[in-house]
């Protein structure tokens, strides 16, 4: 259509016009539908700066279908008047005429006609005056001629009440020359076609410019979940550092591996119903490595391996209680126990990233389940300095270079240290992980050699992800209430790349 005759005419008229022209007027002049002119305007607009079009809305009076009829044939009352011959007409006959009913009463009130009720063959209608002025028809014809403004407000509203006139809003364009105005647009090609390539005609043809400020069409594609993209990166980091992945595909764990094996006493508050999900069915672990269990029992209740122990009555039933693991350290304990059974001892570096479960109070940053990242190194003669050195390398790969260490208390590591990093955005030190050296009371009953130390650290996967993607409510990230748009829009996860300002959640 852009190259159609209307657009061409529009441009020619515009060239000659002084200032601009109105789309409705042009339509009237050309005798085409207004919509056709609007189409031409829009297609010319799409070409760039050839024309400028300003949308205007004007109110206009138009005749209704009945109004049109009256403008053509006269008002009902005038038609009634004209149908009454000088010798009169029976009223019953008059009433049968198309305008009869409406016209009769109006003609009566205008005192154009009268009724003689005493006539022999029933009431008879006679003219009162010789001729009449059909004011209604005249006014409607004025409106039809586009001169509605000649009528008074009162006259217009009376005609509107009689449903002869209606007011319509007309959207028209005021079209003027654009900065790249030209009358010769019809020859521009939109796209390169195979025919043009084969014929070589593309060499002689002008092409319509592209609008580079428009958005492209996004490809149909699937998307990976942001949290799991971060998980992939953490796996990658561990693998780069030579850490082997531990099996963690067992959400259900016995209290023994989750707590007792870690030298966490049976009255520890973490073992409370308030903190841990216990199982009703299967409620108990049936198989435990009993030799090892006895060594663990002795260490808790009496001490040994250089320890005083906790000196309490350790109960096997408590250790058998099944639960949803509260940390993946239970999997690390199993891995270290397996390692201890291999003779001679070989050094090992392990990692895992998987779900853990806490029966805790939920809020914007805590869910009942989250992912724990854990790293473990077992070797002869490992020191606290080694732990800090490994942590420095690990966090450097995350793009975190400023680290500080603070003492803390963990039931199964000694020494224990919390890891803090300086957060540029928050301008303060924030906790990024927890670490320590596993207690001898945990390692020696497993059968690991005495001079083997095991250093370990842990952090949650959710926290760095929320910081990275600027998410404040964990439910937008994890679980079924996830915001899929956020998943669609999330960028690559490059932990060591310099981060832009975290995107806000407004996209939601």
């Amino acid at each position: 259509m852009a190259d159609g005759p209307v657009a061409e005419v529009l441009l020619q008229r515009l060239e000659a016009a002084d200032g601009g022209l109105d789309s409705a007027e042009l339509a009237a002049e050309l005798g085409v539908e207004h919509q056709t002119v609007v189409g031409a305007v829009k297609s010319l607009q799409a070409l760039g700066e050839i024309i400028e079009a300003e949308l205007r809305s004007t109110k206009r009076w138009e005749l209704t279908a009945e109004g049109e009829e009256i403008a053509r044939e006269g008002s009902h009352e005038a038609r009634v008047f004209r149908s009454v011959p000088p010798e009169g007409l029976p009223q019953s006959e008059l009433m049968r005429l198309p305008s009869g009913k409406v016209g009769f009463s109006k003609a009566m009130s205008n005192k154009w006609i009268r009724v003689d009720k005493s006539a022999a063959d029933g009431p008879r209608v006679f003219r009162v005056v010789d001729s009449v002025e059909d004011e209604v028809q005249r006014r409607l014809q004025l409106v039809q001629g586009g001169r509605a403004e000649k009528l008074g407000e009162k006259e217009r509203s009376e005609l509107r009440k009689r449903k002869l006139l209606t007011e319509v809003t007309l959207k028209t364009y005021w079209v003027s020359k654009g900065s790249a105005f030209s009358t010769s647009i019809s020859k521009q090609e939109t796209e390169l076609s195979p025919e043009m390539i084969s014929s070589g005609s593309w060499r002689d043809r002008p092409f319509k410019p592209y609008n580079f400020s428009a958005h492209g069409v996004l490809p149909d594609s699937g998307h990976l979940h942001p949290l799991l993209k971060v998980r992939t990166q953490f796996r990658q980091i561990f693998l780069e550092m030579g850490f082997t992945e531990m099996p963690t595909d067992n959400y259900i764990e016995s209290s023994f591996w989750n707590f007792d094996a870690l030298f966490q006493p049976q009255q520890h508050p973490a073992r409370d119903q308030h903190d841990t999900f216990f199982l009703r069915d299967p409620a108990q672990a049936q198989q435990l490595p009993m030799d090892y269990v006895h060594r663990v029992k002795r260490t808790h209740s009496q001490g040994g391996y250089g320890s005083q122990g906790y000196k309490y009555n350790w109960k096997l039933d408590e250790a058998r209680k099944n639960l949803l693991r509260t940390h993946t350290t239970s999997a690390s304990a199993r891995a270290l126990y397996r390692l201890a059974q291999k003779k001679p001892f070989t050094a090992a570096k392990y990692f895992s990233i998987d779900r853990v479960f806490r029966n805790e109070t939920l809020d914007a940053t805590h869910l009942a389940e989250f992912h724990q990242i854990e790293g473990v190194v077992a070797d002869h003669g490992l020191t606290l300095g080694h732990l800090m050195g490994v942590l420095r390398e690990f966090f450097t790969k995350l793009g975190i270079t400023q680290l500080r260490f603070k003492p803390t208390y963990n039931p199964y590591t000694e020494p224990s240290m919390e890891v803090f990093s300086y957060h540029q955005g928050l301008k303060k030190w924030v906790e990024v992980g927890n670490s320590g050296i596993f207690r001898p009371e945990m390692l020696l009953p497993m059968g690991l050699p005495e001079n083997v130390s095991v250093i370990a650290w842990g952090l949650s996967l959710e926290r760095p992800t929320m910081i990275k993607y600027g998410i404040n409510n964990i439910r937008e990230l994890v679980g079924h209430k996830v915001n899929l748009q956020m998943v669609y829009d999330s960028p690559l996860c490059r932990l060591d790349a310099e981060q832009g300002p975290p995107s806000t959640q407004e996209a939601a």
Binding site: S221, P247, I252, A270, L324, N359, Q372, G433, K481, V487
Partner: protein, 549 residues
């Protein structure tokens, strides 16, 4: 390793302390010292070498020793009791408040909300020993409890305290027992009905000069530790500073014990062991000095490499040489330790199941499906009722203590999570194509814990048309990726008409690969769609990917 958000008990009690003190203290102190200002200030002063760590002494009274006799009735409910006396103490308002607060903090923490240990402190001058710790029928116990003006029986008290916001948490410890623990003096005055309430008669005030302290409990070790903490912390305010008057406890078997134990014990740690474990090179003398500043009086002995450390009764947390090594490291300053990389040489391996999962999820996204991450815990309704199954047919593990229905079971299928994800994203443009590769849990008596995970892959297609061919095509693509050819031949895969309550009749097939059933695909039953608050047709596939390892 617990991630940072793990609740440790220390979190709760540090909130009230000033930030400045906290920071300093956090770097230096151990759990029990942090419980009150007295312990904290003393610890800091010792660390700054302004004062020496005090030596706590148990002394015998000039007159007769206070006695607490335990009767055998206590055996079944709360068998242990220990006691001591703080003589000629001088309280001020602040000291008195700190004394009460310390007891409360101990009750909340080491005493495990009074379940393991309950503390009673009494004005000794209002009482007359010897004392009897026994257990009686609730109806036979009658006394005027703390801050009440008249006497009540134990039964009445349990009723009254049901609405007491503080005490109601402790009632369950004895509520359903036939006998309640109670302590009397020689005139039959009730000192306390542990672990619930003390008697009003022996109530202590700012003006109290002589305090009788009893700790009853189910954990003897903890009771002794708690008593030691209280008396060491407040003996500072006694006329003879840092002395505690002994009390005797007679056990039902007739054995006599004297408390508080205030045991000092000696540990020997080699200096090179400390250096080796921390990764520093300090002289034995320096290490001994560092430990002394941590309230662990230490000296170099023997061959010049041995350090003898005296563990004071305030440091019940030191149970192994590693605890001493940590104190040396803390005093040295963690941030002063040279970071080094261990020379541990290892070859990394991926866990095969996770490796396969990683590969598959990338290709699922390449196939146009978007990854969801849904909860492993859900309601019984999600995995059973809504899918037209009875819970017993799911072989799901059941959680005994869920706080809400959302955590009743571990999921046995990934489908409900994906359907809920769609329901929460109904405003998104159609079609919605989602997948998840994650674990489900099924009871399995052959496993040590009686349950095991399976790695499942589930995908759903949600649109105005069911799109079975799209889900079927996805299955074909997955099989292509896993290098499993179509067909009945061994090693191939086929789908066969099947049925299931979750599927629209005639629109369900079972998937067989490498000779075993690995899952189902089909168009979901309209009832299932409705129960998950969805409105459009939906097809899905769910398979176990472990046979392809």
């Amino acid at each position: 390793m617990p991630p940072p958000l793990f609740h440790i008990e220390r979190d709760k009690l540090t909130k009230n302390l000033m930030n400045y003190v906290l920071n300093l203290a956090w770097n230096l102190m151990k759990l029990y010292d942090l419980l009150c200002l007295e312990g904290l200030v003393r610890g800091l002063q010792v660390f700054k070498e302004r004062i020496k760590a005090p030596m706590y002494k148990r002394v015998m009274p000039n007159g007769e020793i206070q006695k607490l006799i335990i009767t055998e009735e206590t055996a079944k409910i709360r068998p242990y009791a220990v006691a001591a006396v703080l003589r000629n103490i001088k309280f001020t308002k602040d000291r008195y408040d700190s004394f009460i607060e310390l007891q409360e903090k101990l009750h909340q923490n080491i005493c495990r909300k009074r379940a393991l240990v309950a503390i009673g402190t009494h004005d000794l001058d209002a009482l007359s020993g010897p004392f009897t710790y026994t257990a009686k029928k609730p109806s036979d116990i009658k006394f005027k409890p703390l801050n009440k003006t008249k006497e009540y029986t134990a039964c009445e008290l349990m009723n009254i305290y049901k609405t007491d916001n503080h005490l109601k948490h402790y009632l369950h410890i004895i509520e359903n027992k036939p006998l309640y623990p109670v302590i009397y003096d020689s005139n039959g005055v009730v000192l306390s009905m542990p672990p619930v309430i003390n008697g009003n008669h022996s109530k202590i005030t700012v003006n109290t000069r002589n305090i009788f302290i009893e700790c009853t409990g189910t954990d003897f070790t903890k009771a002794k530790i708690v008593l030691d903490i209280i008396v060491t912390t407040f003996s500072e305010y006694c006329e003879n500073q840092f002395t505690v008057e002994a009390a005797e406890v007679v056990f039902p078997n007739g054995k006599l014990h004297t408390f508080p134990e205030l045991a000092y014990r000696k540990e020997m740690v080699r200096a090179d062991l400390i250096n080796k474990k921390v990764g520093i090179r300090e002289t034995p003398e320096n290490l001994a000095k560092l430990l002394t500043r941590m309230c662990l009086k230490s000296e170099v002995i023997g061959d010049g490499n041995q350090i003898e450390i005296e563990i004071p009764p305030t440091r019940a947390d030191i149970i192994h040489a590693c605890d001493i090594i940590e104190d040396a490291a803390i005093a040295y300053g963690y941030n002063n330790i040279q970071m080094t990389l261990p020379k541990t040489y290892t070859i990394a391996n991926q866990f095969p199941l996770n490796k396969l999962t990683e590969l598959l999820r990338h290709d699922m996204a390449a196939a146009g499906f978007t990854e969801a991450l849904t909860f492993a815990l859900c309601s019984q309704e999600d995995i059973a009722d809504k899918l037209g199954l009875h819970i017993s047919a799911t072989k799901a593990v059941l959680i005994s203590n869920p706080k809400t229905a959302e955590f009743q079971v571990a999921r046995t299928t990934l489908l409900p999570g994906l359907l809920k994800t769609i329901a929460a994203n109904r405003k998104m443009p159609l079609p919605l194509k989602l997948f998840e590769i994650s674990d489900i849990v099924i009871q399995d008596s052959s496993r040590d814990v009686g349950a095991r995970n399976y790695r499942h892959l589930c995908a759903v297609y949600y649109n105005k048309n069911p799109g079975f061919e799209i889900i079927h095509g996805l299955l074909d693509r997955i099989m292509q990726l896993l290098d499993v050819p179509p067909g009945e031949k061994k090693g191939g895969y086929v789908i066969r008409a099947s049925e299931g309550p979750a599927f629209f009749p005639g629109r369900c097939a079972e998937i067989f690969a490498r000779g075993q059933s690995i899952g189902k695909l089909g168009v979901l039953h309209p009832d299932v769609i409705t129960k998950f608050e969805l409105t459009m047709p939906c097809s899905c596939v769910e398979i176990n990917i472990e046979p392809f390892l």
